[in-house]
Symmetry: C2
Subunit: 172 residues, 2 copies
């Protein structure tokens, strides 16, 4: 089964992301707006329990982090994707790296660029049109993230949350 | 903001439910297949923390329960809904009642009938046609549920998981 790890930001930011995703994101109905911490990876049923224990430990050792959205950006020409770019900071990077260590280590296909996708698989004309307009807009949004989720993918491509993990020792 | 409490069953059962939901459930893309433990209810931001603490306590005090799907059924003529009917058992009823006690108590619009919706807002002809076929099928599925989720609704009607709760004192 395929699992992934992601952060769901505040409802406010999810609603804003969805206002674009509705038109431009082919995965709109598969999962709510999110920031991916760990790309989808296969997990055998027999491995799951150990993996979850490891993630629980990691969550406790890491701290809540500031999610700071600084601009709209695009992965073009690598992929025709539009996204909200999040600033890097120590806590976020530490969390992402901790989720890719020891028993959680998986081969990454690309470097970690923290972002929330708002459009993907767009055709070039639409991408350049929408991105042209978004570049003129300023966006600045900050919030504290104190949790993340382990999800698995269903047959239809949609994602279900298996478990949420609270960040930090005292976060309850 | 509107919150609700639900159980996501195994991927196998979700995939089966989705095979019907895809065609017959108008909420197909809003949330994965689920068994509702607590109908949507409004929560003020200031109430949320206390409420979550209460739910955590309740989860620890309750026990994992057997989810046993025994047949296909319909809420017709109350609503044009098709569902998989779950058998009642002590642990499930205790959990549902505990989530409706003290600070968690809310007015219920209808009695608790544990089920997983596979079709809703169907027109009568389709409902009676599909239900006619499903009545001839036998379904028997059992699994152990050891967690449930608190979700909130986005502007577009879709649901995001706020937190999962493990059932029982030793469930970690």
């Amino acid at each position: 089964m395929k699992y992934g790890i992601a952060v769901f930001p505040s409802r406010k930011l999810q609603d804003l992301a969805n206002s674009y995703r509705k038109r431009y994101d082919t995965k709109y109905s598969m999962i709510p707006p999110h920031l991916t911490l760990k790309d989808p990876f296969p997990v055998e049923e027999s491995e799951l329990e150990g993996l979850v224990r490891e993630i629980r430990k990691t969550a406790k050792e890491c701290r809540p982090f500031k999610l700071e959205i600084i601009k709209y950006s695009s992965f073009y020409p690598v992929t025709n994707t539009l996204y909200m770019k999040a600033a890097e900071n120590k806590e976020l990077i530490e969390l992402q790296e901790s989720l890719d260590k020891g028993p959680l280590e998986r081969k990454r296909e690309h470097p970690f660029i923290p972002h929330i996708t708002i459009g993907q698989e767009m055709d070039y004309d639409e991408l350049s049109d929408v991105f042209g307009r978004l570049k003129l807009e300023t966006i600045h949004h900050e919030e504290l993230i104190d949790r993340f989720s382990l999800l698995y993918q269903l047959e239809n491509g949609a994602w279900t949350v298996h478990e949420t993990f609270l960040l930090g020792e005292d976060n309850e």
